[in-house]
Symmetry: C2
Subunit: 350 residues, 2 copies
């Protein structure tokens, strides 16, 4: 297979972890005779520094014209602590999501057997947990109108949703549930928010097309609790943008490290693959960041293009690294292996 892949290493540890993902893909290409062409481009703080824009036109055009996008991470504390910054790295990512129409972010959560002990949760709570979060990604408060009055004393964010935006991701989530354990949990705050009530109504309507899937509802405050009390109750979770942001990071604790989790963002035509962790600037250049989430993002990419066998080989290689404890310090505090060594082990294993 020929694939053209746009690579956006981004900020902080982004470049180091993405390098390892590329190595894994190169190894797959060699062994299985594929041709993967990578083209790097700027996004995030690094793009602001070099071009003034967090998502330069050139990067956007590249992403629109490739088969897939592989993203590292973006974000820089110098923008976070400056409430007056006019341009921010995150705007690049949000604009990219919007322009590529990546309306569904999908994050599978499943602990590794060899890592059960790495979780802050007890073994009996997480063993057997296996669910997927469908987060709406191009709507809600992320994209609604924002205001700040002239005196800088009053601000607002508008959260908006339309039936259409809810319907399209609901179908994806129900289809996924059909292939899994046939349960879908809608998470909202319908006792307070109008948008949540719309979500509930639309999802109820969509559910009529999937009579084999059991649909239930949880308020987001309760869901944040249930994820920790009893994660095994979940199969597919469907929720809006901001709730999904919070719950999917929270759910990462089940696997012991956020450094293990990839996600895919899907649109009608485009797909973006990334680790769910941030740019972790404190670790930049120290060869301590966990590359596994990025390598698994690459595996999701392979799966997306039907290269199931190849994806499986990557999963196996990751499992071996974990089993042999060739992991970074987030998983084994006294580990002698760094980003590079873990990535090397995995691509050699392929």
């Amino acid at each position: 297979m020929n694939l053209k892949i746009a690579v956006l290493p981004g900020d902080g540890i982004g470049p180091e972890v993405i390098l390892q993902a590329k190595k894994a893909l190169y190894a797959i290409a060699e062994v299985y005779n594929h041709e993967f062409v990578f083209e790097d481009a700027l996004m995030g703080a690094v793009a602001i520094d070099k071009t003034g824009s967090p998502l330069p036109e050139q990067t956007l055009n590249l992403c629109l014209n490739t088969d897939a996008v592989l993203l590292g991470a973006i974000g820089d504390p110098k923008y976070d602590n400056n409430p007056n910054a006019k341009v921010r790295p995150e705007q690049g990512l949000l604009k990219l999501r919007k322009e590529l129409g990546l309306f569904a972010n999908i994050r599978p959560i499943k602990p590794y057997k060899a890592l059960i002990e790495a979780s802050p949760l007890k073994r009996e709570i997480i063993e057997g947990a296996d669910f997927t979060i469908f987060r709406e990604l191009t709507g809600g408060a992320y994209f609604g109108a924002k205001t700040l009055n002239e005196e800088g004393t009053h601000a607002s964010d508008l959260c908006e949703y339309s039936e259409e935006e809810i319907t399209r991701i609901a179908h994806l989530a129900f289809k996924s549930a059909q292939k899994r354990r046939k349960k879908l949990t809608m998470v909202d705050k319908a006792n307070v928010l109008e948008t949540s009530r719309l979500w509930r109504k639309v999802v109820q309507k969509v559910s009529e097309n999937y009579p084999d899937v059991k649909l239930d509802f949880l308020f987001v405050d309760n869901a944040a609790m249930q994820l920790i009390l009893n994660p095994k109750q979940f199969d597919v979770i469907l929720t809006e943008n901001l709730f999904g942001d919070i719950l999917s990071d929270e759910a990462s604790v089940i696997t012991g490290s956020i450094g293990l989790l990839p996600s895919v963002s899907l649109g009608e035509k485009n797909a973006l693959f990334e680790p769910i962790h941030g740019s972790y600037p404190q670790a930049k250049g120290k060869n301590i960041a966990n590359p596994i989430a990025s390598i698994l993002a690459a595996a999701l990419l392979l799966e997306h293009f039907g290269l199931t066998k190849e994806a499986h080989v990557v999963y196996k290689a990751v499992e071996k690294a974990i089993e042999y404890k060739v992991v970074t310090v987030d998983l084994k505090p006294d580990s002698k292996f760094g980003t590079n060594e873990v990535g090397e082990f995995i691509s050699n294993f392929i």
Copy 2:
């Protein structure tokens, strides 16, 4: 001391657990020679059923003219699953918060030694955790304008904040931090939301009055993760309404049961005390609901009026119940004790 207390038992298990809180307060009044006068009133689904309104005028007037309000819980699934319901129990609670000006909701989180094993988190993660969440309670998306178009296909919620709303709760939170371990963590989503950037700016400004308190910032997605990975890092958490709703329920897992946590909501003149759990309609009338959160809400009430010794006696009685395993099934699956027995044990111990 003479205290006039408005009691709103509410829906579901509300009346049963509130009864136990009253028993504890009666016991305190008798032993320490206070006069507590209780007046019950309607709020929630029960008020809708009887009067058509979730917060009848009479209830509001009573609450405005008492020293304190003791609330059970409100909410009923018949409203949750009906996105078209015009009147909802939650409107009563939100209106009460607004009318009493209860702008700060304060939830202390600290695991009981005897219950460390009841938490889904490992002992080493939670032992020693001790923090308080300050949640803004009368602003944000809870109270902003809501819209639903005529066709019912597009909805919106507006999240708004003003400098003033942020300043007043920030002062409370900083003052609390000064009496504790002198650390305040502001939780927001300043990389995306305009209101969060206003929060960050205002809190930074307020912090200049409290040079002895260390201020740091966390994005809400990261905070949802850090609460579970390392809850001991927190001392005082300050956040807006919706994030506070999610995080404080999530944080309840640290104590093993949401049935153990009370909260107080403060305004300039009024104070409301309640368990943080919901109305748990499935348990209604079964004598299985945990009354401890409500009894601890009563203890917070005593503390609020300077009755520190009395509050302490209630805390001790609760600790004894836990130590002797006189607890409900949420804490001990094979327990033979119900709501009544636990409440009885505690008030007898006073």
